[in-house]
Structure formats: structure tokens, C-alpha cells
């Protein structure tokens, strides 16, 4: 019999449940989104691939966590790229990561970032940087 190890608390917030799951389109037009925040999941689904990443083609898998940690900051946007991963920071609490090879977008959205800003500005800015 194997005993389940007693793990650390999830300080990185890797294992936050994401019950809101939507899928739109199929094949290269497939948009899959999961989140712990219904508003984020619906906002991304509603925006669709065309708004999120313009003329680029290919499916996109999204996993975004609404992060309730209060860091109290909201400074300028910075995008860092190493050729494979592209990471957008808005302050320290909003961290969006785009893995170009895997066509995945994932990360954390600070409590003070509105869904409208996320889908109309932050995500397109990251995907099309």
C-alpha cells in the first residue's frame, strides 16, 4: 500500500482548483480556457481567438488564476522573452506566461485587474508582442 505524501502548503498556488472550463471552436481555431474565476473564463471565451491574438493561427490553451494576494502594486507593464517563453508582468501580482512552442497561455491575474483590460489589452499585448 502506498501512502500519499504529506505535501507542503501550495505556496506557489499551482494547484488552485479551476472549475470554470470552456472550449470554443476546434482544430486550429480551438480556444480552451479554464479558470477559478467565472468572469475571466467567460470574458476570454467571449473575446475569442480573433480578438486575443489577431491574425495568428493555431489553437490556444488558457489557464488563468484570479490571485487574491494583495501586493498593493500596479506599476508599468513589462514583457520579458527568452525566445520560447514570453512573460508579462503588471506590477508583481499579474503574471501572464505565453509558451510559444506549446501554444499555452497561463498565469495569475491580480484582483484589481478588470477582465475587460485583460482580454482587450494585456493578453493581446503579450501574444502579439
Amino acid at each position: 500500500m502506498t501512502v500519499e505524501p504529506c505535501w507542503h502548503p501550495d505556496l506557489l498556488r499551482r494547484f488552485v482548483p479551476t472549475p470554470y472550463v470552456f472550449s470554443k471552436g476546434d482544430g486550429p481555431n480551438r480556444l480552451f480556457v479554464e479558470s477559478n474565476d467565472l468572469e475571466i473564463a467567460l470574458g476570454i471565451r467571449q473575446a475569442g481567438l480573433a480578438q486575443l491574438r489577431g491574425k495568428r493561427v493555431g489553437a490556444l490553451l488558457c489557464k488563468l488564476i484570479r490571485d487574491l494576494a494583495d501586493l498593493g502594486d500596479r506599476s508599468e507593464i513589462t514583457i520579458i522573452s527568452d525566445g520560447t517563453l514570453r512573460v508579462l508582468y503588471l506590477g508583481r501580482a499579474t503574471i501572464l506566461i505565453y509558451d510559444q512552442e506549446r501554444s499555452e497561455l497561463f498565469g495569475f491575474v491580480a484582483r484589481n485587474v478588470k477582465v475587460e483590460e485583460l482580454v482587450s489589452s494585456l493578453i493581446p499585448g503579450l501574444l502579439n508582442a
Binding site: 506557489l12 502594486d73 514583457i79 522573452s81 512573460v87 508579462l88 499555452e104 495569475f108
Partner: protein, 326 residues
């Protein structure tokens, strides 16, 4: 939006380094950082199967010092920031670290030695074949003694005492364990030994040295053990025994055998849970943990001075070695 490209073709300082037996392909645009990391690199005979890549772009126009840490992780990526100008992106799947930092942090040797290198080995460890275990490690004649115990049980004080009693020092707090074809290898890093203020009761030579504020906020003596105590330092050894330290109020000591299940539980409590997509790293790590759990393990309960405990442990190791020879 400001766009920072971490482009290796702009990084003229490049070298293969080695941390805890893991090869590190470093590229940076900063000669300062290059010098610091080169000084922390230690070549060992025992290397781990995987290596990792570290690209660090230094913004010479920024002088932001180390800020409050903020960590997050999702899927195969972990991010760490220490203020707005100092961000680190770890890709566990590809075994890479890409970072953009200020000139101030690039010149802060303590940050890289005590924080960034251990953090990197902790995060990328599973993918490169290293398991960080919260234990000290001492070595005698090629045989390693792992000393585990919760914080405050005196691992560091005992490590220093044992290093003055004939053992070679590998590590006092975190030991990085890898597998090779015929067993395990325990690796140390260049991290300093950390002694709490009351250690001055046992080591009079600490008088006159100043306490420093550790990264976790504790006041402690942080010392190069070779320089401060004349200890012999080994960077790696083959672990033979695992001892769990427990303090008792009464004088005396007792060794009680421990089951592999208890040892496994302890080692598992040292490591982070990983997402399922990192299944290869999870499997590799589980194999290493299993081998650590199968080491002969004892609970060592003692009361008295560190010198008394060190004497008891020394006799224990000598006795066990005799058993092996027989």
C-alpha cells in the same frame, strides 16, 4: 509596453559552471555577475545526469536592490520576483532559468550564494536529477552521514561540532541528493553555515563576530566553516546512514531504528508537489527518494551539549563502519 529580450547573442560572458554537481550553462552581459557565479561554482567528480541553462540579462541603468520575494507557479513554469526590476522565470520542462535583474542585484554576491542558487536547485532539481533534502551531511572516510531534523533541533551546531571531531563538512541545512549507477551521492553548495546567536555558548570563537540578518529575517552568524572553524569541506559523498535528530530534556542519548516509511515521509516533506505534466521529473525524483528512504535510519534522541552528541554520533559511525567491514 517595455519589451525585454533575453537574447543569448547579446551576452558575451559565457561559461559552463557547476552547482551541487549540476552543470550550468551560464550566459550574461554582466562581468560582475559572471565573476560572482564563477566564484560560487564548484567542480566535483560526481556530476548529476542533467544540467540547466541560466541566462541573466542585467540592466545597468537600474539600481533596485533585492525586494520582497514573490513566487508563483503554474504548469511547468515558476516565476520569482524580488522587486519590479528583478524577475526570474524557471522553465522546469526545458531546464532553464531566464532572468532580468538590476545592476545592484548583479553585484550582490550574498543574494546569489544564499538565495538564488539554492532556489534554482530547489525548483529545477527534480528535472535535473537532484532532490533537495532538509538535512545536514557530514562525511568520514568516504561514508556520508545525513542528519535530519526539524528546524531548531541543532543540525548546524552539531555539524560544526562534528567537523571539529574528525568529520568532513558537506552541508548544514540543505543537502542535494542524486542517483548514480551504484547508489546515491549527496552534494553540498557553497552556502555558509548558519548558527543562531546562542551558539556562542558552544563556540567561544564566535565572540567578536557580528550577527547578520538572514534572508528569512533571523539574526544569525553566517560563516565560511573552513575559515571560521578550520573544517575540511567535501563537496560530495556517498550517504550511508540517515539520522533523525531529536532533543530530550534529560542527559544521555539513545538510537532507535526507524522504518523506511518514516524516512520516506520526512524526505517527501522536503520537496514540492509537482504538476502531473512533469511526470518524468516526478518519477525520477520518486526513485531517488525511495533510495534515500532505504538507507539505514535511526532516531537519535539526546540531551546535553553538542560536544556530547557529536561524540555519540562519532562512536555510532565508527561502530557501523566496523559492522560493514565485518
Amino acid at each position: 509596453m517595455p519589451f525585454l529580450s533575453i537574447d543569448p547573442t547579446d551576452m558575451y560572458y559565457s561559461r559552463e559552471l557547476c552547482f551541487a554537481g549540476a552543470a550550468c550553462d551560464l550566459r550574461t552581459n554582466s562581468p560582475w555577475l559572471y565573476g560572482i557565479l564563477e566564484g560560487l561554482s564548484i567542480s566535483t567528480r560526481e556530476t548529476v545526469p542533467g544540467g540547466f541553462r541560466m541566462w541573466v540579462a542585467v540592466d545597468e541603468s537600474s539600481d533596485e536592490a533585492v525586494g520582497e520575494p514573490h513566487f508563483r507557479g503554474l504548469h511547468h513554469v515558476v516565476t520569482a520576483s524580488f522587486g519590479g526590476s528583478n524577475v526570474f522565470v524557471f522553465d522546469i520542462l526545458r531546464r532553464t532559468l531566464s532572468a532580468s535583474v538590476s545592476a545592484a542585484i548583479a553585484r550582490d554576491g550574498r543574494f546569489w550564494k544564499e538565495k538564488l542558487i539554492p532556489i534554482t536547485l530547489g525548483i529545477l532539481g527534480a528535472a535535473i536529477g537532484l532532490v533537495p533534502v532538509h538535512c545536514a551531511c557530514l562525511e568520514m572516510d568516504g561514508a556520508g552521514l545525513l542528519i535530519a531534523g526539524v528546524s531548531g533541533t541543532g543540525k548546524s551546531t552539531l555539524s560544526v561540532t562534528l567537523s571539529k571531531a574528525g568529520f568532513n563538512y558537506v552541508s548544514d541545512d540543505w543537502t542535494y541528493i542524486s542517483r548514480r549507477h551504484d547508489g546515491l551521492v549527496a552534494h553540498g553548495t557553497s552556502a555558509p553555515v548558519k548558527l543562531l546567536p546562542d551558539a556562542v555558548e558552544h563556540f567561544r570563537s564566535l565572540m567578536g563576530r557580528s550577527l547578520q540578518r538572514s534572508m528569512n529575517g533571523e539574526l544569525a552568524y553566517e560563516l565560511d566553516i573552513a575559515e571560521a572553524f578550520g573544517a575540511r569541506v567535501e563537496r560530495g559523498c556517498v550517504p550511508r546512514w540517515l539520522v533523525f535528530l531529536e532533543r530530550s530534556r534529560g542527559a544521555g542519548s539513545v538510537f532507535t531504528p526507524m522504518s523506511s516509511a518514516e524516512a520516506r515521509r520526512y524526505v517527501n516533506s522536503s520537496v514540492e508537489r509537482l504538476p502531473s505534466r512533469l511526470f518524468e521529473a516526478v518519477a525520477m525524483r520518486a526513485q531517488t527518494i525511495e533510495q534515500v528512504a532505504l538507507l539505514p535510519s535511526w532516531r537519535f534522541r539526546y540531551g546535553g551539549t553538542p560536544q556530547f552528541a557529536a561524540q555519540e554520533l562519532r562512536e555510532f559511525v565508527l561502530h557501523r563502519k566496523q559492522e560493514i567491514y565485518v
